[in-house]
Symmetry: C2
Subunit: 379 residues, 2 copies
């Protein structure tokens, strides 16, 4: 037997409260039993997204929410500005192109973040840009884009909505939808919300709803106006993913007990301790600026394959972390501290990394990183 | 406390084996842990759909599978023949229209089935028809269309694929994808497969894959060619709904132990007993021909509101059955015998209906229908 530890940036571990609640006999989504369940989830998501707007609940992975953010608010030929700073930025480009939007890509070197002033320049240069698409936390590189500053830029342009993939950032970062002016905010269940995959969440501003009136792209499954009408009646447009929404209420209950601010601070502390511990081992961060609270991306030491570190963590020590994606594959490995995560997940991760590196012949003084993490996580 | 009984045509009760398996700590969908899980689900679905073709697993409700069956194989302007015999036939029309297909609707009076010779005539009249869309079991009216005969008609036309929404029929009816020539077969998790909502299944023939090459409709989330490539590596294109797929393996294990033929026969017996019991109460079937094995649709007695029967079953006796949909609302009520269903689910349903009708002042001799069901279900 090798005991397993899940430290990947999604799916993340599901707390026992949610696992148990989801193991209860199923109820019917159109019966009155379900109305208060959906009502409570709906309100909880508004609290989490810091918004008075509707937050739709869609039965799909987070990517389904991203697709809906394109096909509900835009039309073929509409101009999109995509901030592509990694694998998921790339996904925005692919989705927009699949729906025949005209894409201007702002390519950012992996490990770096977009400069809000560059976005402002682009919008001034081309006022026909209808949407700015970005990730809050770009999981492939471990950066957090400055969503507050970006929102304040896009807000100046009446003809442009600000679309944020917050799939891995939600719960890990303070994202003030209404106060900052995020128009479309997308979340997913299997990240900070500590649930199995299968739900996408989409918060939508009034500014964005006005765009929806004009959208001519085909839509049926991801038809957000229909979902909005259903949500007003505490329903979903199609069969509700009952089980996951019951689990969602459990996760929200845990987070509400912790408090939003505390949840953000917990993620920040865990992320900070992870980074400092890794640096104490002489390793370099792949993330060059503004690191995400959700995941830490670490450059593999010279001559060491990042995928081998990931593989050894799993095979030798039962730790499922993550390797690199796209152009970073082989160069990096990643450790998540997202959702149902605490002090000893960081300790486990760092201890595991030390032991794997030593096993691979890389000079490491065991306990060096662990001690740094301990110091920073003293209660 | 009022004990609850779920007798609705989806979600259907989830067996404890699946509930328990889904309550296990989550695993990562890109780790080697998950490969055998998906491999086993994949093979089990091929067994269930009686096909050597790929059966894709999509994270969505069944409707997502229906949408994918349109946007992956057709292009705007393509001619579709939709057999609209109820609420879900209507859904085919809506989806095809949302994607700008040119729809010829064959409207069938609710409670009746399509005549295969009419489909043949329509296809001969207009050889440009690229797809024939139908439900196997039309849940809103309780009919089962003759899929075998329809398949043998469509098979004659090289330019036409046969698309079957088998969401509520799968497991309840013998559907021989390869032998009969069903080109696209769609299932959902929360019906005969006894799982929570969240998975769609789509079996696809080689004839249909050739259509996919020419399709120009926008596709990203429901991109079946990408899903096919992923499935070959025991992956899904986006984050796998890990938990539900683990549950799927448990359901498939139960069904494989029972045997396909036995599962069909069980559904047939339960459906037959339900119908005969209902008739013994002097009630009329809403379904006028070829009743489905999944759900029985019953006309409410003259002067009695079908929705009130549904409501009384739930409120007074804790039984969640179903009312009517669309034009049948108020006129009918429906009882499912689908998935994790056995003898005493039928007895419960019939006893409940008798007690509700008596309570509503309708003349009923208690036990009349129950006795008929008992007789037919003697082991």
């Amino acid at each position: 037997m090798i005991k397993r530890y899940l430290l990947a940036p999604g799916p993340t571990p599901v707390p026992p409260e949610a696992l148990l609640a989801m193991a209860m006999p199923i109820i019917h989504h159109r019966s009155p039993d379900f109305l208060p369940v959906l009502d409570s989830a709906k309100k909880g998501l508004q609290w989490l997204c810091q918004t008075k707007n509707d937050v739709l609940i869609i039965c799909s992975t987070g990517t389904g929410g991203m697709v809906g953010a394109v096909n509900n608010f835009f039309s073929a030929g509409d101009k999109a500005l995509v901030i592509n700073a990694g694998n998921f930025g790339e996904r925005w480009t692919k989705i927009c192109k699949a729906y025949n939007l005209s894409v201007e890509e702002m390519k950012i070197e992996w490990g770096f973040t977009v400069k809000p002033e560059d976005v402002e320049k682009a919008l001034r240069r081309d006022p026909s840009i209808k949407g700015v698409f970005v990730q809050a936390s770009e999981t492939s590189t471990g950066v957090y884009h400055d969503i507050k500053a970006l929102a304040s830029v896009v807000k100046k342009f009446d003809n442009t909505v600000f679309v944020v993939d917050a799939i891995s950032a939600l719960v890990a970062h303070d994202l003030r939808m209404d106060e900052w002016g995020i128009d479309i905010l997308i979340g997913g269940s299997q990240k900070g919300l500590m649930l199995p995959p299968g739900l996408a969440f989409v918060g939508i501003s009034e500014k964005a709803w006005a765009f929806a009136e004009k959208s001519t792209l085909p839509k049926f499954y991801f038809n957000f106006r229909k979902e909005r009408e259903s949500l007003a009646k505490n329903q979903t447009n199609f069969t509700s993913p009952v089980t996951l929404i019951i689990g969602l209420n459990e996760s929200l209950k845990i987070l509400q007990k912790e408090g939003l601010e505390n949840a953000f601070r917990r993620h920040e502390r865990l992320a900070h301790a992870t980074r400092e511990a890794v640096k104490a081992l002489g390793l370099e961060m792949f993330t060059r600026e503004s690191p995400s609270n959700a995941v830490t991306a670490i450059t593999a030491p010279a001559g060491v394959d990042g995928q081998e570190i990931y593989k050894n963590l799993r095979v030798k020590y039962g730790i499922t972390a993550a390797g690199g994606q796209g152009q970073a594959k082989g160069k990096i490995f990643r450790i998540a501290h997202l959702g149902y995560a605490g002090t000893f997940d960081v300790i486990t991760a760092i201890a595991g990394v030390e032991m794997v590196l030593k096993g691979m012949g890389h000079p490491v003084k065991l306990g060096t990183g662990v001690a740094v993490a301990q110091e920073l996580l003293l209660a």
